[in-house]
């Protein structure tokens, strides 16, 4: 009984993640992989993502401190980052990564820096939102925490 309001709240939160464009269909795929054998799969993957991508973010930051920019390297890093971001369905982050890569390809250093800042922002925002979401999900109970929106 108590869980219902929580679950409802969870569902609302989840829906807003989609509506606001933070996550996309891929996120649903993750949720579908979650089952009894893998009850916290989505959270696990997202946690792993944030842990691993932090390293790439750092690499990019360091690369952006060296002038002149090594666009090839930056592009390579971002390619990697984009790959994992898209795997968890991080929509806005992924879009920003694409933009960054465009700038790299055209050798636009300014653009790169700008877009990277934006990317970091989105990255952090998503992390916060998902963190809250997972927390609520755990409280709401293991079952059906990641159900499809009706």
């Amino acid at each position: 009984m108590e869980r219902n309001p929580m679950r409802r709240q969870l569902a609302i939160m989840r829906q807003s993640l989609f509506d606001q464009g933070h996550v996309d269909e891929q996120f649903v795929q993750l949720e579908e992989l979650q089952d009894d054998a893998n009850p916290n799969f989505v959270e696990e993957v997202v946690t792993l993502y944030y842990r691993d991508s932090a390293r790439i973010i750092l690499n990019i930051e360091q690369a952006l401190e060296r002038k002149p920019f090594d666009f090839r390297k930056l592009d390579a890093y971002m390619h990697q980052f984009k790959g994992s971001s898209s795997s968890i369905g991080a929509k806005k982050v992924k879009a920003e990564s694409t933009l960054f890569r465009e700038y790299c390809k055209s050798g636009n250093g300014e653009g790169c820096m700008r877009s990277f800042q934006q990317l970091k922002k989105e990255y952090a925002t998503l992390r916060k939102k998902l963190g809250t979401y997972f927390q609520l999900a755990r409280q709401a109970g293991p079952v059906e925490t990641a159900s499809r929106p009706k």
């Binding site: 390579a76 390619h79 984009k82 790959g83 795997s87």
Partner: protein
Amino acid sequence: MTVEQIVSEGKDQFPIGMRVLAVDDDPTCLLLLGTLLRRCQYHVTTTSQAKTALKMLRENKNKFDLVISDVHMPDMDGFKLLEHVGLEMDLPVIMLSANGDTKLVMKGITHGACDYLLKPVRIEELQNIWQHVVRRKKKDRCNSGSKDKPHPDSGEAAGIGNVDNNGKLNKKRKDQNEDEDDERDENGHDNEDPSAQKKPRVVWSVELHRKFVAAVNQLGIDKAVPKKILELMNVEKLTRENVASHLQKFRLYLKRISCVANQQANMAAALGTADSAYLRMGSLNGLGNFHTLAGSDQLHNAAFRSFPPSGVLGRLNTPAGLGIRGLPSPGTIQLGHVQNSGNPTNDLSKLQSFVPGNHNTNILQGMPMSLELDRLQHNKNVGHIGELPTTDSMTVFPGSGNLVDARITGFSNNQLLGVTSNSLMLEGSSQQATSHTSVSAIGFQNGNALSDFTSIAPASNQLQDSKAGSQGQASPINCNAGQIIRSAPQEWNAPRKDAPYQSHASINSSIPINGAMIQLGQCLDRNNSIFHRTTDLDSVGPLNFVDPLSIKHSEGDNSIMEPSVIEKEGYLMFQPRPHGSHVPDNIGSLEDLASAMMKQVPTNLSVLLQEGGCNGYSLRTSI
């Protein structure tokens, strides 16, 4: 999901329980992939290291049915892994990447991938991947004279990674290869062919290829007919069909090389030093490409595709120098080390000087390819390249040498190295990864024209792998070259442009990828001759050099070469990795160059072919 249960019933319930090996350096993606696959009820093994994957595969060829691998990996380019798996184990490989560029996909296919998926991968796509296993088994069955292999396990095919395989992969030649190879007997040089009895496939080892090249040289590339070649080679259990298909591939390779050489030359002119190195690579690549082309349908000429010019140069130099020595000394190849900036002149000269070392001068007129890497590194004047004595008539690479030369001189040795390294890279990267391998490739060039070819190829592999430290690569390259030669199509002097590409592929396939350094060494010797040839490429006009930047491997841009090379052989040993690791990167660029060059070299294709055969062979790298 009880995996154990599934495994025990795997065979009966196929595709349930199909054994998949998933490789991806990104842990997030790997976790996702693994989970998705398990959801499909496959038996999944995951690893984030390509090397580990290869090790697992080599331990027991029958342990897996299918391999799924990411394209961009730090320790080894996905395409290279693809080549290795294809050559050695003959397992279906699916490539995975966040980048869906047509060129990249093309590269994957030419390298022998049976599918190319985009990340993020969806479960629906994975639910049908078992079809590749079935398809391959069927093909194997046909190839081995309709031996019946009831179980879906594709392990059967494993272990016969040679020409035969390539034939299959190469749709174009599939039919004729299958026909030809129907009676194929096991080649004595089989690297790892546990099922030799079951599947008669000829493995064009370095030795074999060398003989082949020598025979072709002796007869003259125009007059080299399979029957005569077979007689000259005097190898037991080798059929005329085997030789014919190998010859066809070889021809393609040569053609490709010459294209590349042209391209490189052009590029060099246009781009300047850095480019020159790049260009050179291209030309070299042409040679190397041949190897890759021919040999490795599965190998990907990743290197070919997009290796950064500077990388290429660097690579060329190092490995080349090493190679020339004729020894795959592991340390020598280091392509990567060579300064990327590639003092063009110096390197070239070095390369050239090396060439004489090889016995097979005829092959490459002036291809100093394998020239001493050492020298290259020091950037002495390249000018030598042209000097390589091509002695013979080796018609195989008549003019191409010039082209190469031209390029080489302009550039730092990289070009040459590029070629050689490319070839090296093609193959051997995985195991022996050290730059040494690349050296071997170079040496290869000096040696027999054709045989060099192969060696170059392996050498390149090594180069590429230098990162990985895989020396073994060298050997594979060698093989490839030989293979390429074998399958070179009639178009020996056909239009340069993409045609050579093909031959390139074929060569690759034949080359057994064994990472044995030894082979690499062999290649190195041979490479010289090949290089010689390239030097003659001078005559080639301005190469429409593919912009090295565009060739950048990062995105597998090098499609330049690739499309043409696409042969299933796709032996692109060269892996143009955008990473910082010098060695691997260089290699990739070499290949890329080569590929680029291949594509663009219209005029001296024949020349290139002849010379570049080797390079192209191995170069076909794809990112």
